[in-house]
């Protein structure tokens, strides 16, 4: 147990359904995500990677095991307390950009602060948007932005509360390769420049190669861990794992 781990999972189990329909999504997963690191979680469809992210972020409850975020044990927290934890310590980015259509880029970015009843400082919002290269687009509505730009607004929004950890679920899943590269570069810059902890779920080896390390899930278990690899090697390791499994 190291104290530098921002997020820690210990023997986490999660099943869906009952009786013969029971599906084990996570089967005793233990992992640690150290502060200032960029981790990618990979796996085939149904391997449990999205469940891992949702449980780690406190969006979903676990059947057994322990999850700690920034020193706080999620077990025993009320829905209210988990909401506040999410608001203050966790940032989210999803495949669907999940912006509120009625709000401008700047208003979307400032939304978590408003939800926390903290007055958003214009300078802070401006800076968050600048970090993702969108300072000029602050007044635009989501419908006026491209997919890549919307995703970067979502990242800026995730950063505005200076969260302990940023969870990204297939952040480039709906983007073309050029936009993907811009979004991934933005995430990388956050880790390198600001010491942000990032956990990203992806099935794309190119995206995963941006991370410091890659965890591979299969049937709800951790089956591999790759560090410092390029996309080709990751793809090869995944293919090998699939054959081995």
């Amino acid at each position: 147990m190291t104290s530098t781990a921002t997020v820690r999972l210990h023997a986490v189990r999660k099943t869906y359904g009952t009786g013969v329909n029971t599906v084990t999504a996570l089967d005793g997963v233990s992992a640690e995500f150290t502060a200032g690191t960029f981790t990618a979680v990979m796996g085939a469809s149904g391997s449990g990677k999205s469940t891992l992210l949702q449980c780690a972020a406190g969006l979903d409850t676990v059947d057994s095991g322990q999850i700690t975020i920034d020193g706080t044990d999620l077990a025993g927290l009320s829905e209210h307390a988990r909401t506040l934890l999410r608001r203050d310590r966790i940032g989210f980015v999803f495949q669907a950009y999940n912006l509120v259509g009625a709000l401008t880029a700047a208003q979307n970015t400032a939304l978590p602060l408003r939800l926390a009843r903290r007055a958003p400082k214009p300078a802070a919002v401006e800076q968050a948007l600048a970090e993702v290269g969108l300072a000029e687009r602050a007044g635009h509505y989501p419908a006026q932005l491209s997919g890549g730009e919307q995703q970067r607004v979502a990242i800026a929004r995730a950063l505005i509360t200076r969260p302990a950890v940023l969870f990204a679920d297939e952040p480039t899943g709906a983007l073309d390769s050029t936009s993907s590269a811009v979004v991934l570069a933005a995430l990388r810059r956050l880790v390198d420049g600001h010491g942000q902890t990032v956990v990203m779920v992806s099935h794309d080896p190119v995206a995963a190669a941006t991370a410091d390390r890659v965890l591979v899930l299969a049937d709800g278990r951790l089956v591999d861990e790759i560090t410092g690899a390029d996309p080709a090697r990751i793809a090869a390791r995944l293919a090998a794992g699939a054959v081995a499994a």
Binding site: R86, N98, V100, A102, L115, P142, A143
Partner: protein, 808 residues
């Protein structure tokens, strides 16, 4: 900020709700202003008398009967006491009796009473030309009647047409005869008017007068003198208030309903957005506040539009009420500032109440809702919803049971309550009822190879709650229009039955331009009739009627004998023989042979002796007397209707203010003023409920199609042509409308059945339930056309858009 931004974003889908709220607030403003304005006005004829004394009125004002008048001797004694009150210059006895001017062989509408000449001073009337009446055949007419001095005129009285000579005219309206004539014809004294010195202290005079009359009367001053308005005006205004109250209640109920269904719908469509807010750290309380904040803004906006609209509409509406006869001609709108404020507050309250359930539901949306790819999965119907539906159903049954036991106006009210509760229950339980209903409805087409039927069945079946939301306004629309239409037709059938039962006759003679039939008209008609009057038990009126031996044929005697009714007064001079209805005898405790002191219509105390108790048959009144006895006590009594074996002589009847109808035409109703008012009332209620309902139908359909853009795109990408997509939409809409209409019809029929049952119990004869098929067909047709148009229009507009939604 979020509520405001969200409103801006969804302005098109919320337009319907806004319009609904605005209309509701406008309706409430108009009704509120008119209700607050509906006050009795001091009649012109008493305008110059600052303090008026009248007998103690009955405790139940809804009876719309005149208070028991003073006998003339008692009134004279009171006048002597009142004359002694400091400041009073004169105490004038008022006497009146039924008179109508006959012109060109027809009674003239308008003035229906003549007064004693002394009472003209109470209205400040002065002679414009000619002189005061002096002889027993002399009359002074108001200039409004436009008859010159010296002219010979026919005046129709309870005794028939009589010749009078016009000796003078006064400004204003009215008819005056000598005090002697009015005293002989008028019976008791209904009012004593005080004339005071110009500088008299009115309040002081009123107080001193009240003390002078003690318990024998009531002193009225200022606006309170409006209590002396004609009983007919009071009754008309009461009906008008019923209309306005019903309109307000309907407006509030329908608005809450529409807001509730719109917001329930919107919440379902916004689940991902709400989930996102929860994901980003919004606590449930915040979500609930946004939804309520949104609806609060909508309510205020609706009020801002509705209040001015209502203020503008109040004037024309007041004139319309006067024109249709719901308010007396003296009616004007008083613009009281409290009304718009209250209407505004009511609008906001309606919006909040309507959105309350949706707000609670929105607060329960979890953060994971943001991550669902499709927003289509319908959750099963919650237990709370089932329970609420059950409670509403129980309330409907209770109201239905109450309707079967209620009488008169309460009956309709309970039926309306039952329908409101049933509509609520139907909408709450619709998600449970809808899928099987749709499957049943589309079963004949299920074998086909086309995709349309499959898609429709699957969609409506799986998205039960969405479909239920869409069907709910149709349910409301159909239920109310059919119920209100059916209620009137069923009650008309009841009254028709009542009339035919009473009139085992082929022809019926009714008043025509007169308040009742004079004695010569009754004689000319040649049939069975009664002479209604009012006796008084203390201050409380007892309806009574005079009959002749001819009427005995339609009465069934349970005990005693009717012949004793017509015995010579010499036989037992101290008592008046009466026959009483069994129901009245039981409730009042009047046994066969017992005697009871009551006051006559002229205010004199008389002793009644029960000589017969009547059992079966509808009776005109609880107490029956000899016709001549009634005529002696009440010189102005008029007969309401004559039932006869053959049509009456048309020409002779017309001159007497009467006409002959076939029994069938009479039973069908619509001949009388009250019937006409009820029909107008019905049309207004149906119009308002249908208008609100259709607004909701269009609104929900527009929202529904807009919310299904993604679905339709998938359908198109799967190879459906534009025509097929529109076909599926139209078919789905038609199925939803048909199901909503079927549920609405079921609701209306249930309420109507309760009503018919209640009426049957009262009459002791099976009253058929009438379903207004024409109204039903028209309502469903309009619903269908509007709903399909509203469902297809947005799809036509977005037909070419293929780019996926770039935001939530």
């Amino acid at each position: 900020m979020i509520a405001l931004a969200s409103l801006r974003e969804r302005r098109r889908s919320l337009l319907g709700t806004l319009v609904t709220l605005a209309v509701a607030v406008a309706v409430l403003t108009v009704c509120g202003l008119l209700l607050a304005s509906a006050r009795p006005v001091t009649p012109d004829r008493f305008a110059a008398s600052p303090v008026l004394i009248r007998p103690v009125p009955p405790k139940t004002p809804e009876a719309f009967t005149e208070p028991r008048p003073w006998p003339k001797e008692q009134a004279q004694a009171l006048a002597v006491r009142l004359s002694a009150v400091p400041g009073v210059s004169e105490a004038v006895l008022v006497q009146r009796f039924y008179v109508q001017l006959v012109r060109d062989g027809r009674p003239v509408a308008g003035e229906r009473d003549a007064y004693n000449w002394s009472a003209a001073a109470l209205g400040g009337h002065r002679l414009a030309t000619g002189r005061a009446p002096a002889g027993s055949d002399e009359v002074v007419l108001g200039a409004a009647l436009d008859v010159p001095v010296g002219a010979r005129v026919d005046l129709l009285t309870a005794a028939g047409p009589e010749h009078f000579t016009v000796t003078g005219t006064v400004d204003g309206a009215g008819m005056w005869v000598t005090d002697e004539v009015a005293g002989a014809r008028g019976g008791g004294v209904p009012v004593i008017g005080l004339l005071t010195a110009a500088d008299a202290d009115v309040a002081g005079v009123a107080a001193a007068s009240a003390a002078a009359v003690g318990t024998d009367g009531v002193a009225l001053a200022g606006d309170a003198r409006g209590a002396l308005e004609p009983v007919g005006d009071a009754r008309t205004r009461w009906i008008g208030m019923q209309v306005l109250s019903a309109l307000s209640a309907l407006g509030v109920f329908v608005s809450v309903f529409i807001v509730a269904s719109t917001f329930a719908f919107a919440t379902r469509q916004r689940e991902r957005e709400l989930g996102l807010l929860r994901l980003l750290g919004a606590v449930p309380r915040q979500v609930r506040r946004w939804v309520l904040g949104e609806v609060l803004l909508l309510g205020l906006l609706g009020g801002a539009v509705g209040v001015p609209a209502g203020l503008l509409a109040a004037g024309p509406m007041a004139r319309w009420l006067v024109r249709t006869g719901f308010e007396p001609a003296s009616f004007t709108v008083l613009y009281q500032p409290v009304v718009p404020v209250a209407a505004m507050a009511a609008g906001v309250l309606v919006a909040l109440v309507g959105a309350w359930a949706a707000a609670r539901r929105a607060a329960r949306v979890g953060p994971l809702a943001a991550l669902r790819t499709a927003a289509l999965d319908d959750r099963p119907v919650t237990l709370a919803r089932m329970i609420a539906g059950g409670v509403a159903l129980a309330a409907a049954v209770a109201a239905g049971v109450a309707a079967t036991r209620a009488s008169g106006a309460d009956l309709g009210t309970y039926a309306l309550y039952a329908a409101m509760a049933l509509v609520t229950a139907g909408s709450l339980l619709a998600p449970v009822l809808l899928p099987p209903a749709v499957r049943l409805l589309t079963a004949p087409f299920a074998g086909g190879r086309g995709a349309t039927v499959l898609l429709v069945r699957q969609h409506v079946g799986t998205a039960a709650r969405r479909s239920a939301s869409a069907a709910a306004p149709v349910l409301l629309c159909v239920a109310f229009t059919v119920l209100i239409g059916g209620m009137v037709q069923t009650t008309t059938a009841y009254y028709g039955l009542n009339r035919v039962t009473a009139a085992n006759a082929t022809a019926v003679v009714v008043p025509d331009g007169t308040p009742g039939l004079s004695d010569p008209a009754v004689t000319a008609a040649g049939g069975l009739s009664t002479l209604p009057t009012t006796l008084y038990d203390g201050t409380e009126p007892l309806p009574a009627a005079g009959i002749t031996p001819a009427e005995h044929t339609v009465l069934t005697v349970g005990d005693g004998s009717l012949t004793a009714l017509h015995r010579s007064p010499a036989e037992k001079p101290a008592v008046v023989p009466v026959a009483v209805a069994e129901g009245f005898a039981v409730s009042a405790g009047w046994a066969m042979g017992s005697t009871h002191p009551v006051f006559g219509p002229d205010g004199n105390l008389i002793m009644l002796e029960v000589v017969a108790v009547l059992t079966a048959g509808p009776l005109p009144a609880g107490i029956l007397l000899d016709r001549a006895v009634v005529r002696a006590m009440d010189p102005s009594a008029l007969t309401t209707v004559v039932y006869s074996g053959q049509p009456g002589p048309a020409t002779a009847l017309a001159g007497l203010g009467a006409r002959s109808l076939s029994a069938a035409a009479y039973a069908a109703g619509g001949q009388e003023e009250d019937d006409r008012l009820v029909w107008v009332f019905t049309a207004v209620l149906i119009g308002v409920s249908a208008g609100f309902g259709l607004l909701a139908v269009v609104n929900t359909m527009l929202m529904s199609t807009t919310g299904r853009a993604a679905d339709l795109r998938v359908l198109k990408l799967s190879g459906a042509t534009r025509g097929q997509v529109l076909g599926v939409l139209a078919a789905e809409t038609a199925v939803v409308v048909a199901t909503g209409a079927a549920l609405g019809l079921a609701v209306a029929v249930a309420a109507l059945a309760a009503l018919a049952r209640g009426l049957s119990v009262q009459l002791g004869v099976a009253v058929p339930m009438v379903i207004p098929w024409g109204t039903l067909a028209a309502t469903v047709g309009v619903c269908l056309v509007l709903a399909v148009a509203a469902a297809i229009l947005p799809a036509l507009g977005s037909g070419r858009a293929t780019r996926p939604h770039s935001s939530v």
